[in-house]
């Protein structure tokens, strides 16, 4: 057995190399599934079709004839246009078979449209800014730029192997200065239009990675990458005014009839419009300390009513308490003289700011010692608490708790023994016996226990309660949005520089357009122990002159969220080589909207929402003629390719199954093994007496618990074993192909062995396209057999009857021949 370098693939030579055999190497793991000799022989003998010659030949001919080029509108001569786009990849390094499904699906649609007479635009590019490049730089001392472009080069070759009908003349990477130059210009245009502003904002701060994290990047209160507990900080952030389009972004979802319902629902929920009321609760009493510190006139926490937003004013008579967000101004003021409240706020700050985090956490609170008067009954006083489940970003950061109608409020009231009564009677329930103990009733019904609202339906009671609030000047009707403006500042090097300058005299000044692009400096250092943004640390880059007053000033060192880069790339593809503008207005207006967009459902919310916002903003800044502002007419979210996962459990090994690779590492089938060196005591004697081999025999080898690639595993036996050994492997759940679980099948190795067509056919077969497809050896074999069969039938026919064999016009067909003709035409 030869030793295998860690990370390389295992190639098993095929048993028999007959004249018909043109596939000398087949992946061990597939072979192992077809491990009976006769079956293997039959399979091999069928290999008449040599994909290794055929596939590169046709790719070369297609490229030479330039058949994948999209035609300019004036060349199209009446052909309708079809813009087919797959979500462009992040250049992470290599493409595995799991990724290929996305591109293959788009390609099938593009090829089908072309055959049907469309002028097809099917481009490809790279979503190339982002954190992994900086992490690679820190961990391996490679510059993010070099790392990114190397990966792009490798992945481009892999994608080309798939035979995708892509117009490569339009390729770009978002980290090309020729791309982000236009993004900077667009940023300035949005700024002029009032769609960009700066705001102090509470952010999730990762103290280890020294960066702001999006809510989605906070997992259980910890940074998704560093695992460090996340802190909350206030930072001046650049914001995009997404909420300027809130109404339209919501209303237009109704017209996106070629989007999956699931995605439309997710978009609606994210925007989250709710109708309700603002209610002002008058202060009844406050702690003495608060009264003492309040000014005699003007705004005062001791006197000003507390504003609350609710969607259910019909349940006002069921109110039991008010709850404020931990960072509500009133909570913070009280913390000034109450250490227990200060501690409570600090504890909540480690929780993470996302709704999901807050939803998961136990509901806790603290009584702030304030009492307020009920808006409908001034003699009724309610306590004011601070609670961790109240979001400061929703409404005014304060709610009234109506425990019988809301599970969180009920849990809270029960925990702190706050009294409450039910006010909504479910249809058919008896008012005398209906009671709420542990389970809230959140539905609609008839209002009772509620004075002038008694007997009304939920809907009528909401209207009546709002009327009454207005009459008493205690509230008003209002609309709330869950959608927030988009904070785009990132304290990162590998992103698009924000074209702004800070001047002590003039404030924040836009970079003049003639000075664009503001390019990233390349001489930067990445070191774990030097916190913060390398742009900020750079000795000269940020120092510049103020464009307004000419005085010394500094550049903005924050870069744009990479979601900005992917919010307009689809428009750039319509005119990718344009040097003076992001794209020509006519070209973009001809090609947009994208007719078919294909991508993962994991982007169903943010990417699509931001792209929809950006398209509207581009339209309103005059870049685009697209009245709807909708970038993607039809959306398809494809399922993943999944595979069994394999895991070796910790076990003791013996040579010779363990051996040293070329670098001297002890490995078994490419997996590094833990070695405890042998001691002289173990083999008893003078090192001079014992040769190396003997000493090795006394070493202790342990296989650490580790994920194994399908290549390393012989899955024909159950339980599977590490290829070529009898070391058992445990089979884990079938999961999405991912590097960390090592259940990936590398694309170019697969294409070399089986061909692109087998990969393409397989990833599209066997399951509905929106569902996951499991990568199995038998499935691959099925696709392989189909390719061979189609070729054999064709070759046999041509050998017997020639290229043009048979008559030109159909002879009178009867019986079986007629039936085949019928089937042929029916299949079309």
């Amino acid at each position: 057995m030869r030793s295998i370098q860690s990370g390389t693939h295992i190639h098993e030579p095929l048993v028999i190399l007959g004249p018909g055999l043109r596939v000398p190497r087949i992946r061990g793991w597939v072979l192992s599934c077809i491990n009976d000799n006769a079956t293997r022989q039959r399979w091999v003998n069928m290999s008449r079709y040599n994909h290794r010659e055929v596939e590169p030949k046709w790719r070369g001919r297609w490229a030479a004839a330039n058949i994948d080029r999209a035609l300019a509108p004036e060349e199209a001569r009446g052909k309708p246009k079809a813009y087919i786009l797959e979500m462009f990849p992040y250049p992470s390094g290599r493409i595995h078979v799991g990724h290929s499904r996305n591109y293959t699906m788009g390609d099938v649609i593009a090829r089908f449209r072309r055959a049907n007479g469309y002028n097809v635009l099917h481009p490809m590019g790279w979503d190339a800014f982002g954190l992994p490049a900086e992490n690679a730089a820190m961990e391996r001392g490679i510059h993010p730029k070099g790392w990114t472009y190397d990966n792009i080069a490798a992945m481009r070759e892999q994608l080309k192997l798939l035979g995708l009908a892509i117009d490569w003349s339009r390729e770009f990477a978002t980290c090309d200065a020729s791309y982000y130059k236009h993004q900077q210009a667009m940023f300035l245009a949005f700024w002029r239009k009032g769609l960009v502003y700066r705001k102090k904002q509470k952010v999730n701060w990762d103290p280890v990675d020294n960066t702001v994290l999006a809510n989605e990047q906070v997992v259980d209160g910890k940074g998704w990458r560093s695992g460090a507990p996340v802190e909350t900080r206030e930072l001046e952030q650049w914001m995009f005014k997404v909420t300027a389009y809130a109404d339209d972004l919501l209303a237009a979802i109704g017209g996106l009839d070629k989007w999956p319902d699931k995605v439309r629902l997710m978009q609606s929920n994210w925007i989250g419009k709710s109708q309700g009321a603002k209610i002002w609760w008058d202060i009844a009493s406050v702690p003495e300390e608060l009264r003492a510190m309040s000014p005699a006139t003007g705004q005062s926490h001791a006197r000003d009513p507390i504003e609350v937003f609710t969607t259910r004013p019909d349940t006002l008579f069921g109110a039991s308490f008010l709850a404020l967000a931990p960072d509500h101004p009133l909570t913070k003021t009280i913390a000034g003289f109450r250490p227990d409240v200060a501690k409570f706020i600090a504890d909540c700050a480690t929780l993470g700011t996302s709704e999901a985090d807050i939803e998961k956490a136990e509901k806790v609170g603290i009584d702030l010692g304030i009492r307020v008067k009920h808006p409908f009954d001034p003699t009724w006083e309610l306590p004011v608490w601070a609670a961790n489940f109240v979001l400061s970003t929703y409404g005014s950061g304060a709610i009234f708790g109506s425990p019988a109608g809301d599970q969180r409020d009920l849990d809270f009231a029960n925990k702190y023994k706050l009294p409450f009564k039910p006010v909504v009677l479910p249809h058919g329930a008896d008012a005398a016996t209906h009671a709420i103990t542990d389970e809230a009733f959140t539905g609609e019904g008839v209002i009772y226990n509620s004075h002038f609202l008694d007997g009304l339906s939920t809907k009528d009671a909401i209207a009546r309660a709002i009327d009454e609030l207005v009459k008493r000047e205690a509230g008003e009707a209002t609309t709330q949005w869950r959608l927030r403006d988009w904070g785009v500042s990132r304290q990162r090097y590998w992103g698009c520089p924000i074209p702004a300058i800070h001047c002590a005299k003039c404030g924040v000044v836009p970079v003049p357009e003639k000075d664009l692009p503001i390019q990233l400096p390349e001489d930067v250092t990445f070191e774990r122990d030097k916190p913060g943004n390398p742009l900020d640390r750079h000795p000269t880059w940020k120092h510049t002159k103020c464009p307004t007053c000419g005085g010394a000033a500094t550049r903005e060192t924050d870069t744009l969220d990479t979601f900005v880069d992917s919010s307009w790339y689809f428009a750039r593809f319509t005119d990718a080589q344009n040097e003076t503008a992001p794209f020509d207005k006519k070209l973009a207006s001809y090609w947009l909207p994208v007719d078919q967009y294909v991508g993962g459902v994991e982007h169903a919310v943010l990417h699509l929402l931001y792209a929809r916002f950006f398209t509207r903003a581009m339209r309103d800044c005059g870049y685009l003629d697209l009245p709807s502002g909708e970038p993607f007419a039809s959306l398809f979210t494809q399922g993943m390719v999944v595979h069994e996962t394999y895991r070796a459990t910790r076990q003791v090994l013996k040579p010779p199954s363990v051996h040293q690779d070329q670098r001297g590492k002890w490995v078994i089938r490419g997996t590094t093994v833990e070695v405890t060196p042998s001691t002289p005591a173990a083999w008893g004697g003078d090192p001079a007496d014992v040769d190396r081999a003997q000493r090795d025999a006394f070493k202790e080898f342990k296989l650490p618990p580790t994920w194994l690639t399908p290549d390393q595993v012989d899955s024909s036996s159950r339980p599977p074993v590490i290829m070529g050994t009898d070391i058992p492997v445990s089979v884990g759940p079938i999961e999405k192909m991912s590097k960390s679980k090592k259940n990936v099948v590398d694309l170019d190795a697969f294409v070399t062995d089986f061909g692109a067509d087998v990969a393409r056919w397989f990833v599209l077969s066997d399951s509905p396209p929106e569902r996951d497809v499991e990568w199995t050896a038998s499935g691959v074999k099925g696709a392989w057999n189909f390719v061979q069969r189609v070729w054999s039938l064709t070759e046999d026919h041509v050998e017997k009857f020639g290229k043009q064999g048979g008559s030109a016009s159909p002879p009178a067909a009867v019986g079986a021949a007629h039936a085949l003709r019928q089937l042929t035409h029916r299949t079309i």
């Binding site: 058949i67 090829r111 055959a115 007479g117 067509d757 067909a813 042929t824 079309i828």
Partner: protein, 135 residues
């Protein structure tokens, strides 16, 4: 994709070397290469070229079905013996009554059921049903 498998099976089944069979097979193979082209573009080009196709199959116009051939022109007729359904046959639409009777009587299950009985009468309602009266 399932339809492609079906077509491949049908092509493999037609073994005849008469002009009509050769024509039908060649037409089916050419069409197949066009239908699989979006999925397996390399194989499709190789097949298309072997079959004398012009240019690339990738840029060839999508095949157009002949409606006369694509139309389903067979019907499925239930066969009743003494009022009970005993089988089904598939025949061309408008097949003459005599031919329908012959096909119905040749049906395996019907034959077995009629064993030892005399067929008194066969009523064929064109393209709908076959009724056999026997005792």
């Amino acid at each position: 994709m399932a339809r492609c498998y079906e077509l491949v099976n049908a092509i493999a089944k037609l073994k005849g070397e008469d002009a009509a069979s050769v024509f039908a097979r060649r037409e089916a193979l050419r069409t197949l290469s066009q239908l699989i082209a979006p999925f397996m573009p390399h194989l499709a080009e190789e097949c298309w070229e072997s079959l004398g196709g012009e240019g690339f199959v990738a840029t060839a116009p999508w095949p157009v079905a002949d409606p006369a051939l694509a139309e389903r022109n067979t019907v499925t007729l239930p066969i009743q013996v003494n009022g009970k359904k005993r089988g089904e046959i598939e025949v061309a639409k408008g097949l003459p009554q005599k031919d329908v009777e012959a096909v119905a009587l040749a049906h395996e299950d019907v034959k077995r059921f009629l064993e030892g009985q005399n067929v008194r009468k066969i009523i064929v309602v064109a393209d709908r049903i076959v009724n056999i009266v026997a005792n």
